[in-house]
């Protein structure tokens, strides 16, 4: 059943489309003919050098193409636009009115162009013209409204609406209440913290033996916790961190000459070590003189 409906709808759409296209082509043809007629009328005005004293035939030949051309332009525009049934009825009515006015004009212009016949012709033409113009205006407005459809589209088309469950709503309310209570509690100040109730006459606490437990504990966790909470923190003493290792490495790499030697160490090195003794100033002078004399030779 649904499938049948669908097929019918599809075929209906196709029919509408083909009819719409043919009407569109017809409309554009009529529009072009209308423009051509206006050009022709304008050319005839120039050709006949039209004036108040011009020949009646010349005036007739000039006015008819311009009047017909104007109507055909409007008719062509209307046919190019999508029309409802009412629209087509208006078009038909205006075409009939304009056609009647034109026939009457051709018949009476030469011999009977008097009041009130001339006004009937003019009235029929103007009513046909205004009907076409009004229909064009209405069609244009409808087209603009349809092309700007997203502006008027419902919100749900733009973004999916999240429907909150009762649990989520409850959780949100609880969270908001908690935050509000936390803020209120943070601002709370007790002004009687130091006071004891007035019915307390005396407090006997001075000589009470306390339950005290003493445990050997260096609580090294303090440094670990400090490092975990602030990883960038350097350790001055460096027993756990990298500082100790780097200190030890620096000491190991330190040159021996900077190490301070004790008194006994110096005596030992001077008199009992196997290392070659340092040269005295006199010895170095003698050696340099010997080198110079060798070079001269």
């Amino acid at each position: 059943m649904h499938d049948d409906d669908f097929v019918d709808e599809e075929s209906g759409k196709n029919k509408l489309f083909s009819r719409g296209a043919s009407i569109y082509y017809l409309g554009s043809m009529i529009f072009i003919v209308g423009i051509a007629l206006i050009i022709l009328g304008s050319a005839l005005i120039l050709f006949f050098r039209l004036s108040y004293t011009s020949d009646l035939q010349e005036i007739l030949l000039t006015i008819i193409p311009i009047a017909l051309g104007t109507i055909l332009i409007l008719l062509g525009i209307n046919l190019m636009m999508k029309q409802s049934r009412k629209g087509y009825a208006i078009l038909s009515l205006s075409v009939i009115a304009v056609a009647a006015s034109m026939i009457l004009f051709i018949r009476i212009y030469e011999n009977n162009w008097y009041y009130p016949q001339a006004y009937y012709v003019f009235g029929l033409y103007v009513s046909g013209f205004l009907l076409l113009l009004g229909n064009t205006f209405a069609g244009s407005i409808l087209y603009i409204i349809k092309t700007n459809k997203p502006v008027y589209s419902p919100i749900e088309d733009k973004e999916p609406v999240h429907l909150y469950t009762d649990d989520e709503i409850q959780r949100d309310i609880e969270e908001a209440t908690r935050k509000s209570a936390e803020a209120a509690v943070a601002e709370l100040q007790f002004n009687d913290v130091q006071e004891l109730p007035s019915d307390i006459i005396g407090v006997h606490i001075s000589e009470t033996p306390k339950n005290v437990t003493r445990v050997k504990d260096k609580i090294t966790e303090v440094r670990s916790l400090g490092q975990t909470l602030s990883p960038g923190m350097t350790e001055k003493w460096g027993s756990v961190g990298i500082d100790k290792a780097s200190d030890a490495l620096a000491k190991a790499l330190e040159p021996q000459k900077t190490q301070k030697k004790g008194f006994f160490q110096r005596i030992k090195e001077k008199y009992f070590s196997n290392k070659p003794k340092k040269e005295t100033k006199k010895e170095t002078k003698v050696k340099s003189k010997e080198k110079k004399t060798e070079k001269k030779r």
Partner: protein, 346 residues
Amino acid sequence: MAKGLDIGTMNIICAEKDKEDIVFTQQRNAFMELDSSDLTKTMLDISKVLYIERKDGISLLGEDAFKFATIFEKEARRPMTHGIISPKEKEAIPIMKLIVGEVLGQPKRQNEVLYISTPADPIDTDMNVLYHKKTMEMLTKGMKYDTHVIDEGLAVIYSELADNNFTEIGISVGAGMTNVTLAYLATPLMSFSIARGGDWIDEQAAKSTGMPKEHVTATKEKISRLGKDVKMGSVEGALTVYYDALITYVIKNLNRKLAEITPPNVAFPVAIAGGSAQPEGFFELFEKRLREANLRVDLAKIKHVKDPILSVARGCLIAARTQEEKGRQQLKQTQTPTQPTQKKKK
């Protein structure tokens, strides 16, 4: 010197560093009313009992209140219930102020850093912990401490598994509540509490056996081991059953909450602490149930905490000392001169 304070439903514990040691000062969060007489006062003074004198009577505070309640077969009143200040107890805030003041002592310097533990928002009851947090914060700030608040579960994480870069699940089974926190690199990703803890176990066991709740609590604290070989109608048997029920309840809720987040793909170690995690056999039972539960995260080791009751206070102390260290470093940075200025020529 920084301090950590665990404000629990049953115990208030302060932790502070003293040279190479940590000193934990502990006091019961309870009080009990007695009729006032000169004889009573003299007796209490001789016994060095902590009490306050009112116009209409005497209130014993802390551990002594608990002991006297057991002796006189009365019920010790509690300023806190289900992890927060008891709305039923009018005297709750002044009593807690005295107990906290006694445990905490005066700050050694102005604005000494103090971290206090508070429960996270419960998920199984329509209860809010905000007002409790604020009250405790203001109470300690009034004692001239620079107070910061930390979740109980996070305090367990800070205390127990530094080796894992503070990436773990911390569970604190207290008297009023059970707190759970999942943290990644010391940052909590999920924190919640359950309005069931040691007190719930006591109530259920008392109802089942017909024993007074105080008696059940005392038995629970002395119990040698949770086990299935028990005498018929004994409190121990009921305690084992309800401990198991509590553990299952906690794990079910943990799994439910894990479904709401996307935890990082790492194996999480678990640390279980708290005053109600003390009986022997509790840890083994928890581990067994955790392994059976097929949690939504991978589990690494499950750490048996050495002193479960002190773990939260220790975690608070670690947080406080870290904060203190951070403050010191920031101060140094602000004090270091930027560039030496050139001396003007004379």
